[in-house]
């Protein structure tokens, strides 16, 4: 899956979106700034232990207008993360709001601390 994406040619400049990684309750969250990306264009995939988030932005075309300022343009956002065994791969969920991607990575069951009962001898 990631092999096809690697070979994918986007004519847009490749940009690493800024990311936060936080732990909350018993889950990890990866939060990425991807403004200008439509929800339908977002591509999130897991291949073995590599999580890939990719999308092209869809800013309105301004090339035919008189420009006063031009500080940003369309880009191809792509970022990869290597997952450790602490993450339950099948439970990963993605959501998008206000140009921010939130990935919910639940902790794997077996990594949760487990108390071992000591039998009285």
């Amino acid at each position: 899956m990631s092999a096809t994406r690697d070979s994918r040619e986007s004519s847009l400049p490749r940009v690493h979106p800024a990311a936060d990684i936080v732990q909350r309750d018993d889950s990890y969250y990866i939060v990425l700034d991807m403004p200008g990306v439509r929800k339908d264009d977002l591509d999130v995939s897991v291949d073995k232990d590599v999580l890939t988030v990719a999308a092209e932005t869809s800013y309105p075309d301004i090339t035919n207008q008189k420009q006063w300022e031009n500080e940003f343009g369309n880009v191809y956002f792509v970022r990869r993360f290597t997952l450790s065994d602490a993450v339950d791969r099948d439970g990963i969920k993605a959501s998008m709001k206000n140009g921010v991607v939130s990935l919910h990575l639940p902790r794997a069951e077996r990594v949760q601390p487990k108390k071992i009962e000591i039998e009285s001898g």
Binding site: I21, M34, W68, S84, A86
Partner: protein
């Protein structure tokens, strides 16, 4: 930890790439880092349109106001709750003032927010529009 150290090293080549890119385009660098949020401003016959990139900002956390012939964009980016392993996204209050050299109709100005892009359309007042002057024949 969610990540192995491998991920940190994976970042390195692209950062170097970005760094070199910035060196080649010093103008691009100065524009990007100067003010937040970054804006595109375009003008056509009828109006001026400002596009501002404000990912993660709720509509209620954006304050738009006019001060004479400038538009003030104020807002706040709220940080994520929880224990941070990595923090790259900026947070906190921001403000940007955009000055106009032509008059706009403040009452008919409209703004919308979608996918982290704030679009503000400022219609020109009648006298700011381009007027064609007819040359009379002798």
């Amino acid at each position: 930890m969610v990540l192995d150290f491998k991920t940190l090293y994976q970042d390195l080549p692209s950062n170097v790439e970005q760094f070199l890119d910035d060196l080649w385009h010093p103008l691009h660098l100065s524009q990007r880092r100067q003010a937040y949020p970054p804006v595109n401003i375009v003008e056509n016959e009828e109006d001026i349109t400002i596009y501002a990139v404000v990912p993660g900002v709720e509509q209620d956390d954006i304050d738009l106001s006019f001060s004479e012939n400038s538009l003030v964009i104020k807002g706040e980016r709220k940080p994520e709750q929880g224990r941070y392993f990595r923090q790259e996204r900026p947070s906190g209050p921001f403000q940007r003032i955009i000055n106009f050299n032509i008059r706009v109709d403040q009452n008919r100005t409209k703004a919308k927010l979608k996918d982290g892009l704030l679009t503000i359309v400022l219609p020109k007042v009648e006298e700011s529009k381009r007027q064609q002057i007819k040359i009379e024949k002798e």
